[in-house]
Amino acid sequence: MLFNSFVFLFVFLPLVVVAYFAIPAHRARLVLLVLASYVFYAYAKWWFALLMAASTLVGYAGGRALERARSRAVLVATVASLLALLGAFKYAAFVGGNLTSFVGVITAHGFPGLHGFLNGIVLPIGISFYTFEGISYAVDVYRGDLEAERDPLRYAFFISFFPHLIAGPIVRYGFLRPQLLRRHPFDADRVRAGLLLFALGLAKKTVVADGFATWVNRYLDDPSSLHAFEAWAAIVGFGFQIYFDFSAYSDMALGLAQIFGIELPWNFNRPYRASSPIEFWRRWHVTLSTWLRDYLYIPLGGNRKGERRRDTNLLATMGLGGLWHGASLNFVVWGLYQGVLLLTTHHLRKRALRAPTVVAVAATFVVVMFGWVFFRLHSAAAIGHAVAAMFLLHGLGQFPGHLTLLIVAAIAYTMVVPEEWTWDVRSFGFARVAAVGAVLAVGVASIYTSHPFIYFRF
């Protein structure tokens, strides 16, 4: 089920909210939210729920086993089991497809049956997110940072809670657990605040992000026809599209959770204000970047084993982070590009090369935006066309006025106005509350032409 769908907005959400506050017992409320989350997830395909149940079972049992014996073997088994589910559904087609193509080229024999089977594998939405949550839980228990959860209901809630289920934020159990221990009575101010944040997120998605998408897709659907102006505008436009799209989802998730009295970690904080790629990753998809830091980069050795090893670790972490986004080589290239940006920043800092903030922000903006080419375009040919156009090889072309206006407005807005989740919506008076009500109406009215969330694919 999608947040920007009518069945969610007008059936699922009202029913769940009313039922939640109608039930007095805390545990019964948890049961309700877990059941509702499974319905939410199974709405697309019923067997998705079975998969999530299997992942939950593995994570819960692994945690209990790790509590009894803090064994590396148990940890490896738990993490491998969780990754096996992810690998089977997300990466089997990628690995198998590339292998069969390779063998096909070498032997001049194709494997159409196997190819067809692999291409037929459906990616269960959200599997990357809840797999990472399960892994972080197992590792935290193994490290002794967290007690294993004995209550399967609370663990099931942690994995399945529908606001963060499909596209994050990636929640850690240590953050959520204390909130599950107490009952959250109805608080009109809190519910209103949650709804306001949700409404702002919905409008940000259906009006702003999808507004960008219409123009960006017009250009990037045929990269071979691009010229310099159009290529840059389209790629920068995509940078804003994906930011508004994903941060909108995060705002909606935070708002929804807030309605039920649950606080989720924030994910975005105006990333295009960053004055370096390092800062960018402290503002962009923060729950993923901190996850990669804590569960991949640091275990690999981080920066403790010398400069060369740090650079290798950075590239490995970011490459794998890229691969997490999708089973496609372009995501790996994008991740490696980000890794190169990070290690370049480290080297520049070591040489004490620092630019004025405005220049640093502008430079970061340009290099980050350029990186979206590898994220948005999937084939080498398309990427080649776009990059060639950006470097003036296809001429300047026509100036894309509409898209440029949108970009200028987006830059002005994001540079001046703080991230929506930081707004003190609780203190909004009647006028501002009514204005957000109107924004909600506009957001709902724009659902008809809305595109799916970009991060649902991951």
Partner: protein
């Protein structure tokens, strides 16, 4: 709490206002407006209905067209059959075609029609058999309707319409003149519908208005005709099955069917024949269709090459996809002629006309032999029920509300004899049966003596059957006197193969009978 109410209240009031405006103006025609069609129908002379009011509600509109007329002949198919209309003064023709139709929609449409006797011209498109082709959603659900009335794009269009025609806020449509025609619509009919379901472009009413754009020819299958041929790797078995269900339904209802495929422009034909993707499928389609229709006793006319109709290339209004009215009516003339050649034959009676192979030890019973002897396309409906007496045949007919066909064969009475099931009402029942048969040519056969009962009674029954038949304007084949014991099957009840041939010959050699 008050601010929560203000927040939700503001959103709900705005959404309610939006939904009301979009529902009232209905800019993309997502709601069926029967009163607009009624208004057009009530006008003298009748008006056309603008496409603005029909929009995507093709199915209810077309079913309304069918039901509102004494329809005897109708065509269905894609947008390429929509120019096929009534002949001047003809009130019994309906065009039930619709854009982006698929075999599934055709089946749904035909199932919704009453089972009265009809002649159907079924326009089959080759691209229907591309598994990737998807038809139009003719039954939008509640969620789609909610999304529509609450959509900003519908609002933008509603606002545009209201700016152009402010009266829409009070009256959802009005009668307008386009050229010399009356159109029920609201200011800008690019397309309009006649009340027989055929389509009119506005340039045909007023040359200064909308003319369909030239279909951009491309060899890129993703773009050619919006991608309907793209990724076409096989003739979809599921779609072929659906077409078979369509034909089986038509046969079960006793309809006369002529299948055809609308023509394509010359350069499309050349491309389809040469394309490595489409070519094999295109040729397989051409081979499959006559067989498929023939299996059900129906004719197939291959109009893919416009010269076969004949239509010149200038008859395509958009460069090779849609034909104009002149060419479409030439197609109709060919279809009418083919339909006239096609007969429908219904058979009623007991196990003798049912002719089960294990009883008669024959491959074809007299009904099939009779149909074959006609040497014309015949759709046979054999409604004979083994073991049935005249009362049961009558009951069956009453349940069906009678039968309609070009010809009817009746052989009943053997199971009415006193030594099988004494009834004594054969005369009355047979008379009632003949009253319920609506056919130009009705032929009745009496039955033979199989030697099991009283020969006098059999003779009396045989005589009575022919008397009743003649008194009802039907011809009677005297099987009783022509039949010999050698013609009995090993069970000594049913006729053997030679017996079946004899009955067929006796029925066939009768002069054609009454007209009803």
């Amino acid at each position: 709490m008050a601010r929560l109410v203000v927040f939700l209240g503001t959103a709900l009031v705005l959404l309610a206002a939006l939904a009301t405006l979009n529902w009232w103006v209905d800019p993309f025609g997502e709601f069926w407006k029967p009163s607009a069609v009624q208004e057009a129908r009530a006008a003298r002379p009748q008006c056309l209905v603008s496409h603005e009011l029909i929009g995507g509600e093709y199915l209810p509109f077309k079913l309304d067209v069918f039901r509102s007329r004494p329809t005897r002949t109708f065509v269905t198919g894609s947008s390429r059959v929509l120019k096929m209309g009534s002949w001047p003064g003809e009130g019994t023709f309906a065009n039930l075609g619709m854009p982006v139709i698929s075999p599934e929609i055709v089946l749904k449409e035909l199932r919704a029609l009453p089972a009265r006797p009809e002649t159907l011209y079924l326009g089959v498109e080759a691209f229907w058999l591309n598994p990737h082709f998807r038809g139009f959603d003719v039954s939008p659900g509640l969620e789609r309707r909610a999304r529509y009335v609450l959509s900003r794009s519908a609002f933008d269009e509603s606002a545009r319409i209201v700016r152009r025609a402010p009266y829409v806020l009070l009256h959802r449509w009005r009668k307008e003149r386009v050229g010399s025609s009356c159109v029920v619509g609201r200011s800008r009919p690019a397309l309009a519908w006649r009340l027989d379901g055929s389509r009119v472009w506005s340039f045909e009413l007023d040359p200064d208005t909308y003319h369909p754009a030239i279909d951009p020819f491309t060899t890129d299958l993703r773009k050619l005709r919006t991608g309907i041929y793209d990724d076409w790797t096989e003739l979809s078995p599921a779609r072929v099955r659906t077409l078979e269900r369509v034909l089986a339904l038509a046969r079960a209802r006793g309809w006369r069917v002529v299948g055809f495929t609308p023509p394509d422009g010359e350069r499309y034909l050349r491309f389809f024949a040469a394309s490595p993707v489409i070519g094999p499928r295109w040729r397989a389609f051409g081979r499959l269709m006559p067989k498929l229709f023939g299996r059900y006793g129906y004719r197939w006319l291959d109009f893919r090459d416009a010269r076969s109709i004949p239509c010149p290339q200038t008859d395509f209004v958009d460069g090779g996809y849609h034909t104009d009215a002149a060419c479409s009516m030439r197609m109709r003339r060919r279809l009418d002629a083919a339909a006239r050649r096609q007969l429908t034959l219904v058979a009623l009676g007991d196990s003798i006309p049912a002719a089960r192979p294990r009883e008669c030890h024959c491959r074809a019973g007299f009904v099939a032999l009779f149909a074959r002897a006609l040497r014309r396309p015949v759709v046979v409906r054999n409604l004979a029920v083994p073991g049935a007496n005249s009362a049961e045949v009558l009951k069956l007919l009453r349940k069906r509300g009678g039968v309609h066909a070009d010809m009817a064969l009746v052989m009943v009475g053997h199971n009415d004899t006193p030594w099988i099931r004494p009834d004594g009402s054969l005369r009355r029942n047979l008379a009632a049966i003949l009253d319920l048969i609506h056919a130009r040519d009705v032929r009745v056969a009496n039955f033979y003596d199989d030697g099991r009962g009283d020969p006098g009674v059999v003779a009396e029954y045989a005589r009575a059957i022919c008397e009743v038949a003649r008194s009802h304007g039907a011809r009677c084949a005297d099987v009783y006197h022509a039949f010999t014991p050698k013609l009995l099957a090993p069970d000594h009840v049913h006729p053997n193969a030679a017996g079946q041939r004899l009955i067929a010959r006796l029925l066939y050699t009768l002069p054609s009978a009454r007209r009803k």
